[in-house]
């Protein structure tokens, strides 16, 4: 089951191509692990040293904020949000 994962443009420097990717898995953790196997440079930017989603990094599955256990369906879309601050 392949789903779409969109990453913010600022993270495009960490991947081999673009901001739209396909990955497989039954939940968010599996999808990310599959994505990292092809885009290893992305892992450090989304997960912290202990394998948790970094603080302030928001990932949505089908428009709902997700954690690593969130189930992913065959038509799901996953969006990593662009974090911003002022100035």
């Amino acid at each position: 089951m392949s789903v779409t994962v969109r990453i913010p443009r600022v993270l495009s420097q960490a991947v081999t191509s673009g901001v739209r990717h396909q990955a497989e898995g039954e939940n968010l953790a599996e999808v990310l692990e599959n994505l990292f196997s092809r885009e290893p440079g992305l892992e450090n930017h989304l997960l912290d040293e202990d394998g948790r989603i970094r603080p302030h990094v928001l990932i949505f599955v089908d428009a709902a904020r997700a954690d690593l256990d969130t189930p992913v369906g065959p038509t799901s879309e996953i969006q990593v949000l662009q974090a911003v601050s002022g100035g």
Binding site: R9, V10, Q13, G41, N44, E49
Partner: protein
């Protein structure tokens, strides 16, 4: 033809001399802080990026414009009580590339920065539970080596020296006031806020130090330090640099810890030609207009041939080509400048 890499709060820029003007390429790494530059033993350039939420990155380039990310930048091991906040500096030691990071320690790479391992001999030093951050964080920001010894500056911990290729480390801060010990109190082993560090490559035991608490020198590898501020308008600052050919020292005084701008807004480097015994304004060309800005510790670089460049927290660049006798401000403005590297 001089080229200068400029790392800022918002991306990096490459300045290339073009006649009497400069061509500016960038921003590279848009959306990222660019915090340090280095060079591998193979000659590739490396750049460190950082973010308030996406962690750090290490990138490689052969042409200074196209950069390839490392898949495995420095990372604290799983379960560590430290977070990887920023890469502060790179240093070549033989075929090894070293990185100083916050939260402090040191990492080493044997493959030109593609993968990294922590230097546990320093990172897990017996004093580690006493390490505390300065205003800029708990950061390893300066690495020097020579004659088989190595020095690492960590804020606000102090200078460490290793005489056995990094197997063991000793704090070397005698003569430096600590950041938080009352006068007359017992001197702690660590707790010294080194800001800048330079040495004589031919006599590496001769060191100069811009510390939070003033300007100091050592002639015994850091075993002892003496204050050297004659002629300086203030003891505070971040920069300490030495020209290898003439021995001229350069620093940029700022008013105080509380007010980190030039005294009376008169921005200038100060030079010493007597190993720090006396200081004077470095040459001419400085602006008469108020310059209430700062110069950060990695925002200064020299090319070894008399060229020096520094960037300010206000985004301006200053350059000399004659070891600091004449200076001029480049006609461009950038975001807050964190790192500068003259590419030779």
């Amino acid at each position: 033809m001089m080229r200068i890499l400029v790392g800022t709060e918002k991306g990096a820029y490459l300045l290339t001399e073009s006649g009497s003007d400069w061509q500016v390429d960038g921003p590279m790494f848009p959306g990222w802080k660019v915090t340090a530059f280095g060079q591998t033993s193979g000659g590739a350039r490396v750049a460190a990026t950082g973010s308030n939420w996406f962690g750090v990155g290490v990138h490689h380039s052969e042409n200074l414009l196209d950069w390839k990310p490392s898949d495995s930048p420095p990372t604290w091991p799983e379960g560590s009580d430290r977070k990887m906040e920023q890469i502060w500096t790179f240093h070549n030691e033989g075929d090894q590339l070293l990185a100083g990071v916050a939260q402090a320690g040191l990492f080493s790479s044997d493959d030109g920065g593609m993968s990294w391992v922590p230097v546990t001999s320093l990172n897990e030093h017996r004093t580690r539970d006493q390490w505390t951050p300065g205003a800029g964080g708990l950061c390893a920001h300066r690495i020097l080596s020579g004659n088989g010894s190595m020095w690492v500056g960590i804020s606000a911990v102090g200078v460490f020296r290793s005489d056995d290729k990094g197997v063991t480390w000793l704090p070397k801060n005698d003569g430096i006031p600590s950041v938080d010990t009352a006068e007359g109190g017992e001197r702690p082993e660590v707790g010294y806020c080194v800001h800048g560090l330079a040495h004589d490559p031919d006599e590496p035991d001769h060191l100069w130090r811009q510390d939070h608490q003033g300007v100091f020198r050592s002639t015994d590898g850091g075993d002892t330090w003496e204050r050297i501020e004659d002629g300086l308008p203030a003891g505070f600052g971040f920069v300490m640099w030495r020209h290898p050919g003439t021995g001229r020292l350069l620093t940029i005084p700022l008013e105080s810890s509380e007010n980190r701008v030039p005294v009376d807004g008169m921005l200038s480097a100060y030079a010493s030609d007597d190993n720090g015994s006396s200081w004077r304004v470095a040459g001419s060309g400085w602006s008469d207009a108020p310059q209430f800005t700062g110069v950060l510790r990695r925002a200064f670089d020299g090319d070894g041939n008399g060229g020096f460049c520094f960037g300010t927290s206000g985004g301006k660049l200053w350059l000399t080509r004659d070891i600091g006798d004449t200076w001029h401000e480049l006609n461009a403005s950038f975001p807050r400048i964190a790192a500068v590297s003259i590419v030779t």
